[in-house]
Amino acid sequence: MRALDFSYMLGLVPVLVSYIPLTLFMAGAGMVFALILASALAVERVVKVPVLDGLVVLFISFFRGTPLLVQLFLFYYGLPQVLSFLTQINGVTAAIMGLTLHFSAYMAESIRAAIAGVDRSQWEAAQSIGMTQAQMMRRIILPQAGRIAAPTLVNYFIDMIKGTSLAFTLGVTEMMGAAQKEAAGSFRYFEAFLVIAVLYWIIVEILSQGQKRLEIHLNKAYAR
């Protein structure tokens, strides 16, 4: 057993921190697209459009039922062999696509449950003033469902941030990939991976604080 090389670890911090923007970019873009897609999927699951509903169920089942890593490999290494236009796709784009599709399946289910949790009276009030389905969803139901779903959605965002570490398997030099390279150069795997673990941990902790504030903000309208 050898002692931890603290000075090496400290020196590594700024190197790895410089990759945080890329990590946040992938997770942020993935989250935005996943939220949009998941909302659409969830609304479809509530409204149940014939035929489309079956496809949505299949989509959700597949992307919840297979590992993210497998999906990323399918997109990045697999699909371009079948669909030639995908050969242009770079690792970051593939990672964002994979994260989007994977997490939208999970988020669709929690948004669907949240929509079902919006009180019946809210639907009826929206109908009574003559709103179309789309207006009702956009103006009344989804905003209220968003509040119900917010804690779980933030959890998925946290999962997504950690999920970006898999992008290094697509050849993207992001935070995890950089740590891997550093470690391979110095043979100080333990130090490098410990630093990377702590960095992810800190990011997630900061987000958790943000989550608390978000929930207070969202609950403002409902405070007596």
């Binding site: 009180d119 009276s121 809210q122 009826e124 009030a125 929206a126 109908q127 009574s128 003033i129 003559g130 709103m131 179309t132 207006q135 103006r139 009344i140 905003p143 209220q144 509040r147 403002k220 309208a221 409902y222 405070a223 007596r224």
Partner: protein, 243 residues
């Protein structure tokens, strides 16, 4: 002019509305009374398709809808010609009092935000809630919420206002202020169809009282006739019970 013919609603095998016929003149205030479970609320809810009737025709202003084959556009048309006041208020929980009143004006009627805001402010003043404009429903008392609910309905400029037991969920202390506001609405010659158990209020406000029992209209006429000289034995029994 409102015309209802043969309006029929079944839940499974239970007939809740049994071919109801009812005409309402412009500016007329009709109060529906009757034992609970007799189809009064369902009648109101069928007129704007919150519950879809199986048969009958509904005519509101220039729109006539055959219930059996109502299209989505026709249903929206009925909803845009009516305003509904709910027993449980049903204010939009994610919107302030003012936004609740503005919502239909902006989203459904497509009016400019400024105009809608001015109208909402005017209505809030009328309902005595000017100082609650920015309050969310959760921060309002039951009586205040229902006044916003009525304000939301007033803003629509509907051909027909439907009141579904608007005071039944209220603590007794709030009933008076809600009834006062309904009197104000009535004074503007708004066509109203009101389901209520407030007999004194019915007597005072109604041009016509309709007594329903078992999904049918059993007796109707001016309050002095229906409430003071009831003919049907079921109506007599009902009036004795509600005192």
């Amino acid at each position: 002019m409102i015309g209802i013919q043969g309006l029929t609603k079944r839940f499974g095998d239970t007939v809740v509305l049994d071919a109801i016929d009812l005409d309402i003149a412009d500016g007329e205030r009709v109060v529906v009374i009757g034992p609970s479970g007799t189809g009064k609320s369902t009648l109101l809810r069928c007129l704007n398709f919150l519950d879809a009737p199986q048969a009958g025709t509904i005519r509101i202003g220039d729109l006539t809808v055959d219930a059996a084959q109502a299209t989505r556009q026709q249903i929206l048309g009925l909803r845009r010609r009516t305003a509904f006041v709910f027993q449980n208020y049903a204010l939009f929980a994610n919107k302030t009092a003012k936004q609740n009143i503005m919502e239909a004006l902006v989203t459904v009627q497509g009016r400019p935000v400024q105009e809608a805001e001015a109208r909402a402010t005017e209505i809030l003043a009328q309902t005595g809630l000017a100082d609650k404009a920015e309050s969310y429903p959760a921060a309002l008392s039951g009586g205040q919420q229902q006044r916003v609910g009525i304000g939301r309905a007033m803003a629509l400029g509907a051909d027909l206002m439907l009141f579904d037991e608007p005071t039944s969920a209220l603590d007794p202390e709030w009933v008076g202020e809600v009834l006062d506001l309904m009197r104000q609405v009535a004074e503007q010659r708004q066509t109203m169809l009101i389901v209520t158990h407030e007999m004194q209020f019915a007597r005072e406000i109604a041009d016509r009282v309709v007594f329903m029992d078992g999904g049918r209209i059993v007796e109707q006429g001016p309050p002095s006739q229906v409430l003071d000289a009831p003919q049907d034995e079921r109506l007599q029994r009902f009036l004795r019970r509600v005192g």
